[in-house]
Amino acid sequence: MNTRRLIRSLSEPSIEVIGYVVLFFMIAYIYAPMIWLFLTAFSPKGGPFLEIPKSFTLENFAIVFGLKKIRAGAAALSLYMHRWIVNSLIIAITTMVVTVVTASMAGYALSRLRFRGKSIFMVGLLVLGMMPTIAKLLPLYKLCIMFGFINNLVGAGIVVASGIIPVQIWIMKGFFDHIPRELEEQAWIFGCSKLEALFRVVLPCAGPGLSVVAFLSFLAGWGNFIIPLILIRTEPLYPISLGIAASFIHHPGEIGLAVPYGPLCALSLIYVIPSMTLYFIARKYLMQIKLAKMEV
């Protein structure tokens, strides 16, 4: 009895310690780049190496927003940084609007209507959603030329949306499946047409689902790299993702010489803000994602 208690008192803290050690490495693994980024963004030196800055400055942010000129070598690049933020927003918002509208309508239809071939259609959507965008590149590119989506931010947003809509339809269907049909039926009985019932009852109840889809699709548009890489040709139209990458590619040189690390880190920090903010808004609804019912 005593020995068992002794073993327990010994083993419990040690398990805790192991836990903390594991946790420390995981946090370091995830947060080290973030901390590096953070320090460099606020550092006046803005070098490529991790160092604790002795003073603190907002100069890098001023450069990003074009309020302050940068040394000659990287001047051209910094001219566009604030535009890149707007460009990313345009792509992200387009993706979000297109996805929310189509995924909610399609999800509602799939949740409520019975039609032939529905289950095959659903599986097809899932397969489509799992397909990498690059795999669809050739037809996608041809279509983009046809629709004039080259160097077109809204076009890029629409193309990004096309890649994520299938899975978002599944998510939306999952939310609709969990809204009792009786709510709509009740609305019909009380004098609503089907469309009125959808807008007055179903969509307000699907609020959490809509915000989840909005969040995920905004992120998809905001963070997308490959579609802008293919469709956007000129630097002023770059989104942040493409801009940051291009800054490294276009300024090869020796490390620390040509690349404006300070402003780029500031830009990267700005890049994180919308996703984080939206996450905190959509957080409680993200937990509610449920798998859509497959039965027809």
Partner: protein, 365 residues
Amino acid sequence: MVRVFFEKATKYFGRVRAVEDLTLEVKSGELMVLLGPSGCGKTTTLRLVAGLERLTRGKIYIDDEVVDDASSTFVPPRYRGVSMVFQSYALFPHLSVFDNIAFPLVIAKVPKNVIRKRVYELAEMLGIKELLNRKPRQLSGGQQQRVALARALISEPKILLLDEPLANLDAKLRVSARIMIKKIQRQFKCTTIYVTHDQSEAMAISDRIAVMKDGKIQQVGSPEELYHKPINTFVADFIGNPSMNLIECTFDSANGILDFGAFKFKLPRVYVEALKDYKEVIFGIRPEHIIVSKEPREGNEYIEFRVYAMEKYGYRNIVILEKEGIQITVVTHPTFDIDVGSKVWIGFDPKRIRIYDKKTGKLLV
């Protein structure tokens, strides 16, 4: 005032029969209860009236107008002047209690000040005035039920459909809620169809009851009719608590004697004539209509049984008697106290005996 009439209404879901050949008239202003075990088609019947399901065959009339004839004519729910309370209440979770109750009027584009006045009046009447600013999830089951009822009544519907409105309430609340529903129904004078599987609730609230089984109507009548003259063994068994004693036996028409194996019983002469063509029958008598005595009685109409079990309820006792495999349930006065295993003598009230055909289950006499 408005009546609802089903003419051979039939509904199949794929190949599954939900309602078959249902012909029933719900009179204007009447409270008709559809009673039956789960899966008997009573909720489907309700949904057919509301227009949430389409008929497979037959017709439904509301106020002499065909609303569904299983082919070209189908009046959608919103034009039927019907109101409904679902078993789940189906309160709109994103709207406050006020907005929930006001919903039908908002859709009908009634002026705002009129809506306010009507909602407050009705909320006052149902005792939910303090709850108007809350959201449905902040309400108890009983409160939700009253909000759902208020919402169903606000537009003063011609027809009110109630689908197990009390099923989600606890036993004590159920009694007060059903009294309230009955009162309100009288006040609004709306034709009401009320679905339940609880026979005592049905007996308490109804003007008439339609007992259903497997999509078919078994019997329609007032609670008294169903209680005293159940038309077949299903209704006899379903109505009443404890339910009717139903014992298989053979009938000796020459002597007018029922042979139960363990004992024999001589039927009164009035019964014998009607039964002369039958041999295999079911003898039915309600537990309330059996006379029990601790002392041996004279005469062959008294039969000796042994007490098998006893349940005391305070206001009555239920005694289960046994004789050679035949069990009989008897309801006695609470002062009737007896040990399990002791002997009793019972007699049947001759006017209350019902005899059913064993093959069809139909009432013979």
